[in-house]
Amino acid sequence: MTRIGVVTFPGSLDDRDAQRAVRLAGGEPVALWHGDWDLYGVDAVVLPGGFSYGDYLRCGAIARFAPVMQTVIEAATHGLPVLGICNGFQILCESHLLPGALTRNAHLLFRNRDQRLTVENVDTAWTSAYRPGQQIVVPVKNGEGCYVAAPDVLDRLEGEGRVVFRYADGNPNGSARDIAGITNERGNVVGLMPHPEHAVEDLTGPSTDGLAFFTSVLGALTSA
């Protein structure tokens, strides 16, 4: 069975939900500890949502230097699929695995909403199970989710098709160009503010649209 690591930092919150999502998609979740250099041979890594280190200094600024992150960064440059959700996206940007940064929501409020998204890139390890242009509904919940980057960086992301998700039906946090999630050049590292792990069961989520993240990577890994 494909093994997907989910990292727990002090203050991570959605780690167990990410593990559940992996399990529901048919994978084996592996709990990874921030202080441990070892990835135990997992096939992919998820950096979950939460408030690692209380968002002290800046969101993800301290988590980025955790021992596990040294190994993840190294592995990512060699093609390991890495998914950063919310705080995980912030950590990926602080680590410079992804460009740009996440800042305080433009309206200054924490906002939890069921958000419509358009899937724009289905070539990444995490989105291959979606159709191009597909609209999905996934919860967003953040206070520091406003994506910013220099204009030339934004142009490059757009030009290279590296915007993976875009907010549709309203922008919940003021992100530039309604960008909700992006990928690196290689397509193995994806970061997004919305929470697919909260959209995996009809019982508890607004949809099951989030499940495809995890089935995508399982599909990508088993066919690799």
């Binding site: 209380g54 002290y56 206070g143 909260h198 508890t204």
Partner: protein, 747 residues
């Protein structure tokens, strides 16, 4: 110069500032009698804080006894007296839940007051051995457009969200109510729910001579020194300078890490007893732990890790620094305990040991500064029998019947009234508030606001779940405290049953004015009596709760506001009953409507009127209605249910329509104004497909619950009262959703 026990024996007549610390003369002299000498300044600090109203419940104890006298319930695993009550929900699971207030600090510093209120109740739940799984927050503010509400509300909401979200606890319900009386006295009540296996229950006992007392969590600083006795036991002077005692500042990250650390410690069975540090900090934790158990404890106070090295021993004892816990650990387990704390980077220090002396002794750098019998501090505080007297103006208030108020007569006037009502601050959409809370974290939230109750999944394999609702109507309680408390209890039960869960247990947060005012004390006594009688009739145990007195500015008390929380259990959350109707289903009103407008939202919103009698209470009818709602779910008879309360049937129908974006066409019997806006209790609206309707009616008949067909839900997005008016859902939605963003800032 440290004031030691030895000094206290040597200069017995030294004047002591007991009055400034909030003690009455007779209370001070009683302490002298207990100790056989004058107290040291540390002892005086401890007694003053622990004997304050907030900690000792001295004005409420004699009345709260009625809860302890209720018949023993077989579902109650831990009752009143511990940090939180625990109930058996089946399948080997135990659920603990409790509600507490943090009212005065939230007026002084809204963000931190509300944040630390959440922090405090979560620690109470954690201390029982449970993983906290959800929070809820019933809130009361002054008028929505008052300048001070602009200051207080956004801060409170941001504080609750800021702290609860960072802890990873979904916020699944609560209320926001505006009323003049809360202007200088906002109410911030915080509820927390936790779950564990039966074997995991922990208690606050210091047992076993030689066991060690470990203080862990945040370092101790000067937070909230005197906060408890100064803030919660005194009212604010109207127009006077703002009291600015040090308010506690919370760090939710530390508490999140503390939660994970504690759960690992519990799983490894490393503690004999555990207590959290809340109001009165170390004074409370040490005396309570020592009181329950082997009877004695010795503490080396200088070992307490400090954030501020300049703190005097009295200040350390009174400090209310947040995110601290106190555990009793066997010597053989201490290394393992400290190792778990080290893994989570939590400061942990052995500060004492359990003895069998029957005394709590505290040393400061080798000198004895405290030597007291702990029970006298923690449990044998003053008990007052405050005089109470029915308010002299109550008869006039009740005679002022809202029946005389002008009311709409034409369909057009009703339509206009409906739009004003749904947009009024108490009835309007609260998304501006609830969007600031995370409802998804932990992945087990089945229903959350605006549904009738918060519903959580407990077991992924079996679908076992719980439902929680909080309710409390200050206007009803003002008109008749006995009935008002029962109406709140009934409403919370109804809300739980509406989701298909069976009500199981009760918690309560009693928010009142000054107990030194005989009229307020009468309201309190009546409300407690009403709640106790109500619980007895409905067969529900009271698991614990909280009393908040002194919610008044000068002579003006708030409306007496008992907030009742009810926990229910549901065996299969996948089949819970949501609120939104579906097209073409039948809409059926359960219960009876009477011309009852006393204390109603209509009287208040339209005429600023409070008078008459609250709706009649019929607890047998309420029990029958709950039984029908639960049985209907079990048998799959209804597709949706929504209770009727504030704003009457009109509000219920509009909310159900907007929830699912499904219209309705109803025909109302008799006076349409009464049918739409009366607030008779014991009612709910259910949505039934035509084929199940006969079975539902049969079920109602079997339980003696009146049922009347109202009409149908429609795909066409219009709310129509046949023969009176029709309103497009879009127009209703605009009126309903515009109010709070207009007042507090759109985003």
């Amino acid at each position: 110069m440290i004031d030691t026990v030895q000094h206290a024996g040597q200069d017995p007549d030294r004047p002591q500032p007991y009055a400034e610390l909030g003690l009455k003369s007779e209370e001070y002299h009683r302490i002298r009698d207990i100790l056989g000498r004058r107290p040291t300044s540390s002892e005086l600090a401890m007694y003053s804080v622990m004997w304050s109203e907030h900690c000792s419940y001295k004005s409420s104890k004699v009345h709260l006894r009625q809860f302890g006298d209720l018949p023993r319930s077989e579902v109650l695993l831990v009752g009143i007296g511990e940090n939180a009550g625990v109930v058996d929900v089946g399948q080997g699971y135990a659920v603990t839940f409790k509600i507490e207030s943090h009212n005065h600090p939230s007026y002084v510093e809204p963000y931190q007051g509300a944040a630390t209120g959440v922090g405090g109740i979560v620690r109470d739940i954690l201390t029982m051995g449970a993983r906290p799984i959800a929070v809820m927050d019933p809130l009361r503010f002054g008028p929505a457009d008052a300048p001070d509400t602009q200051r207080v509300l956004p801060g409170v909401v941001a504080g609750i969200g800021g702290y609860g979200n960072c802890l990873g606890l979904p916020n699944i319900g609560g209320e926001v109510v505006f009323d003049d009386g809360y202007l200088g006295n906002p109410l911030v009540n915080a509820l927390c729910v936790g779950v564990m296996r039966h074997d995991d229950i922990r208690l606050a006992r210091a047992t076993g001579r030689g066991n060690l007392v470990v203080l862990f969590g945040a370092r101790t600083g000067g937070d909230g020194i005197g906060g408890v006795s100064v803030l919660a036991s005194e009212t604010f002077e109207a127009g006077g300078p703002a009291k600015r005692p040090s308010v506690q500042v919370g760090d939710p990250f530390t508490e999140k890490v503390l939660i994970e650390c504690c759960l690992e410690i519990f799983a490894a069975d490393l503690v004999v007893g555990i207590q959290d540090l809340g109001g009165a900090g170390l004074s409370c934790a040490t005396t309570e732990l020592a009181s329950a158990g082997s009877g004695g404890m010795h503490v080396w106070l200088d070992r307490v890790p400090l954030r501020d090295p300049s703190l005097a021993p009295e200040e350390i004892l009174m400090s209310e620094s947040q995110e601290r816990m106190c555990a009793v650990v066997a010597p053989a387990d201490v290394d393992s305990f400290l190792a778990v704390c080290g893994k989570w980077d939590i400061t942990a220090t052995v500060i004492g040991e359990v003895t069998e002396t029957g005394r709590l002794t505290i040393d400061w750098h080798g000198e004895r500064i405290v030597d007291v019998p702990p029970r006298t501090v923690a449990h044998e505080g003053p008990v007052y029998e405050r005089p109470y007297e029915r308010p002299l103006d109550l008869d006039d208030l009740r005679a002022d019947d809202p029946a005389r108020l002008p009311r709409p007569s034409s369909g057009e006037e009703l339509r206009a009234l409906l739009l004003r009502m749904v947009g009024s601050p108490n009835l309007c959409d609260k998304t501006w508030v609830t969007e600031q809370y995370d409802r998804y974290v932990q992945g087990n939230t089945v229903l959350a606001q605006p549904e009738d109750a918060g519903v959580l999944r407990i077991d992924e394999a079996t679908g076992l779940g719980v439902a929680v609702a909080t309710d409390g109507n200050g206007r009803f309680t003002c008109l008749d405290p006995y009935a008002g408390a029962q109406l709140a209890l009934a409403e919370a039960c109804r809300n739980v049953a509406a989701t298909g869960a069976r009500p199981l247990a009760v918690t309560n947060c009693l928010n009142f004015g000054s107990p030194e005012d005989p009229a307020v004390m009468w309201q309190f006594a009546e409300a407690v009596r009403g709640l106790a009688d109500g619980c007895r009739t409905l067969g529900l145990p009271v698991t614990g709760g909280n009393v908040s007195f002194y919610n008044q500015t000068g002579d003006t008390a708030i409306n007496p506001t008992p907030i009742i929380g009810v926990l229910g259990v549901i065996d299969d959350v996948w089949r819970r009953t949501p609120m939104a109707s579906i097209p073409d289903a039948q809409l059926v009103l359960l219960g009876e409507t009477r011309e009852e407008f006393g204390g109603s939202e209509w009287a208040w919103a339209e005429h600023h009127h409070l008078g008459g009698r609250p709706p009649a209470v019929d607890l047998d009818a309420e029990r029958a209605l709950c039984a029908v709602l639960v049985a209907a779910r079990e048998r799959g008879l209804v597709t949706a249910a929504h209770d009727v309360s504030d704003g009457g049937l009109a509000q219920t129908l509009v909310e159900s329509c907007l929830r699912g974006e499904v219209g309705a066409s109803v025909t109302l019997p008799g006076d349409p104004f009464v049918a739409l806006f009366a607030e008779s209790a014991g009612r709910a609206v259910v949505t039934v497909t035509a084929d199940r309707l006969p079975d539902l009616l049969g079920l109602c008949a079997a339980h003696g619950v009146p049922a009347s067909a109202l009409g149908v839900a429609t795909a066409a997005p219009t709310f129509e009262v046949v023969g009176q008016f029709a309103v497009p859902l879009a127009e209703l939605r605009t009126a309903w959703t515009a109010t709070l963003p207009a007042l507090f800032g759109g985003g």
